[in-house]
Symmetry: C3
């Protein structure tokens, strides 16, 4: 629904953002777009200074800027301290979140009669709900979802197509799981007995807190005993693997293809960058950051940034990589030194043998 710039400033104020408007408050805005794509009835923003030059060429009707950016040529603008947070609020105001259609009434999902389905939940045709499941109010299960026996799915949970939730999993309120992710499958639990792998029944489960969002194609093992935990407010991207019995704290951010082995303890507000990996049975402290492709093999203290394989504090890794880059040059210096020392030895020997 179109809104005026003045209305949008009101929205930002309601978030406590203290915007200042420089331009025509009556200008009508239909939506948000990038600097490159925005047209006259759209608002854009600059957050990454890398794109600052596009301010000169954008055809946007208005722009959201941080405090230190020079105002572009004649254009309506809104100043805020955090343009990224502000544009988030404006996208919500102008576009809102995805709406989910009610399922066709003439095609039935497979629902076990013992399941308890909350008020106003949408279970699409092609979804399956097994015995003794509890589904919360307003929950949405898209086609192809499978919810195994005894699961509890919270209010306003949203399972995109083909999500599979194994038996006994607990999902909190407002959990979103993207298509094709699997929650609660058996982990790699085998005991070597007489030269063969004997499967250990995986009798634990998975518990996911409120407001968690899991990307597409992830796999989160149930615990062998006890539980695997993803705590409230944590967000995962795609193709992430979590081993059995691992606990991830609140408000973490995991980028695509990260992988944690079993029995890992991750604190709160931890960032795990893309393709990072963590071995089993280690701890990662609150507010730590693990770099892309890092391989964590030991405990990481709170607040630390680790990088490299094996992962080490970022400054150590950077020093090593810099030294490595200069290694071919150092080999030459060592070779030169060897020649100079040999020359010195020869000269000294000659000098001392000279009467």
């Amino acid at each position: 629904m179109p809104q005026s710039l003045a209305q949008l400033c009101g929205t930002l104020e309601s978030y406590g953002m203290a915007p200042t408007l420089d331009g025509d408050g009556a200008r009508t805005i239909d939506g948000v777009a990038t600097l490159e794509d925005a047209g006259e009835r759209e608002i854009t923003f600059l957050s990454n200074p890398k794109y600052e030059r596009q301010l000169d060429t954008t055809r946007a009707g208005a722009v959201v800027l941080g405090p230190d950016v020079a105002p572009p040529r004649h254009m309506d603008l809104i100043r805020v301290s955090d343009p990224y947070a502000a544009i988030t609020a404006l996208i919500v105001a102008l576009h809102g979140y995805r709406r989910h259609a009610a399922p066709a009434r003439d095609a039935a999902p497979q629902i076990d009669p013992s399941a308890r389905i909350g008020e106003n939940a949408s279970l699409c045709a092609g979804a399956t709900v097994a015995a003794n499941v509890v589904i919360g109010r307003n929950a949405v299960l898209y086609p192809g979802c499978y919810v195994g026996p005894r699961c509890r799915i919270g209010d306003d949970a949203l399972l995109y197509p083909n999500v599979v939730v194994y038996d006994d999993t607990i999902l909190g309120n407002r959990v979103t799981i993207h298509a094709g992710s699997v929650i609660g499958e058996d982990g790699l639990g085998y005991a070597p007995i007489n030269g063969k792998w004997v499967k250990i029944p995986q009798i634990g489960h998975v518990e996911i807190g409120d407001d968690v969002e899991i990307g597409a194609g992830c796999a989160i093992d149930r615990a062998t005993l006890g539980k695997t935990v993803i705590s409230s407010g944590t967000k995962f991207s795609n193709l992430i693997a979590i081993g059995h019995g691992t606990h991830v704290g609140e408000h973490c951010l995991f980028v695509a293809q990260a992988g944690l082995a079993g029995s890992v303890r991750v604190g709160q507000h931890v960032t795990m960058a893309g393709q990072a990996g963590v071995v089993g049975h280690v701890s990662i402290g609150d507010h730590a950051t693990i770099g892309a492709k890092a391989g964590v093999t030991n405990n990481v203290p709170a607040g630390a940034t680790y990088l490299g394989q094996p992962a080490a504090p970022i400054n150590d890794t950077k020093r090593r990589l810099a030294a490595l880059a200069r290694l071919p040059e150092m080999r030459k210096r060592v070779k030169t030194l060897e020649a100079r020392v040999a020359e010195l030895e020869a000269r000294l020997a000659a000098a001392q043998s000279t009467p």
Copy 2:
């Protein structure tokens, strides 16, 4: 359908390949098989010299060889300049591509009445087509596929079982997507507001060009704003993650488990080897090659081959790795030098203190 060697040579000629036949043109060939497995009524080939010794033991009825390979003992053969391209043409001629059965007529897929379905499209039972979708002619949707609102699926598109295509995605003509891949899910788009991750509605979409093939279990984020693009002729293997707003050029080849963050720009004819990763907001030039497990953290120029973590030009990385391999030996040399220098210092001091 069986064909004679002479007919097969005709097929290769129709591709402009100038084959020369050395042997019995009337020999009947039923199919293509490996050097190891081929029997008397099958044709095989040698492309990788590593397998040349198997020429002596193969039981194949005929073989396709490049110009420089010594002819094996008594066997019908076809010479071409590129055996790999030639055997591709012969597999197409003798075996063809997979045929897709028409769906059972007694079981209905879920098709929203507002969707427009092209002539001769096959929508299997268990597929779901949402509102305002357009499906092209001869398109095939296997069971468990979900196509979200307002998607446009091109002619001759082929979606294997359990493919999920989120709302507003555009697939070109002759696009193939293998089982379980997800196109257009929300990316990792959150703004940190008051210590929590607030979801940014992901209002962009994904656009996939003509003749693209996507492997199994991939996840391609929609853009936050604007679009994520996979251009015509590009081929992906399995379990590949593409971040929001990334553009991949034409005729690229991505190997399994490669991952690109968001807002990456990839040129044409780029090869991304297995488990390679690319950070956000960088560019990779046309015809570049990114090695297996490489971690790209900066722009890569056109035509370059990058390797290592962080990725660097292949020769730099190889030099560093070679130097690293000799590092323990270099440590010994430095230690020896230190002893020799100490010895020289002592001798010189002694010599100079000697009257």
Copy 3:
């Protein structure tokens, strides 16, 4: 079903484990739990010495210990040589493996009339079985599974929801495949002809032996020609990619996100740790271990442990990494040496020019 400690010792004896009971054989045990979670009617165990201190605080009714662990304060205990194997046997005895409900009788899966379904197989609503498939006795296909034309699925096979098995795949007896995995999709097989990627029909197939377990979200390519093989007794975790024509031997263990390119030969009892990768056309010998995140680029001999990128014998890699860690310090030593040698050169020159 609850059992007494004496009964549980009997179970261990039936496995040939020679347990010794120290405590009250009549104590009733309901289940197995971790040291942290176990209560009075549960038995726990200590296998990883890291958790030994929890012996002092556990509220478990009984504990399984290895021979060298000091007995905790007053608690019933069972001694065995291998506590991990023993607790596996006890979990089987007390909890058993997951039971699979028979599908609702009023909703039909899609089964082609030419398919042959074994006695007592459970095909859930929402599963699809294509033409000329053979399904073994007691096999279970959960909702959303798709089994393509001409596949053969063994007795007691278990396919969790949304597993996709492409045409001509062979699964042995007692194979388990977790949710969302894809078996037999086309690999990345294209020939570059006139600057475009021309698809090579992938006419091979996949063959999986008996007692194999595949995790969630894996992708196993069919062979271009011939077959891709996963041999009996091998166990995979999640999100693993296997390239076309690769053969994996018996009783291997592959951890999450490992990836093998095509035409690899892997021996028996090989361990592939998390996120490890292997290039095409190499061999890995029996009983080899490939470390986490290792990048194998050459053949690995039997029994070896390889680590690093590129992967090398573990001792070489460790030496290199240790040397790399001390590299900044070595740079200082070289710089010091250069100064000392320059000083020596100057002194010697001065000495020799002195009459």
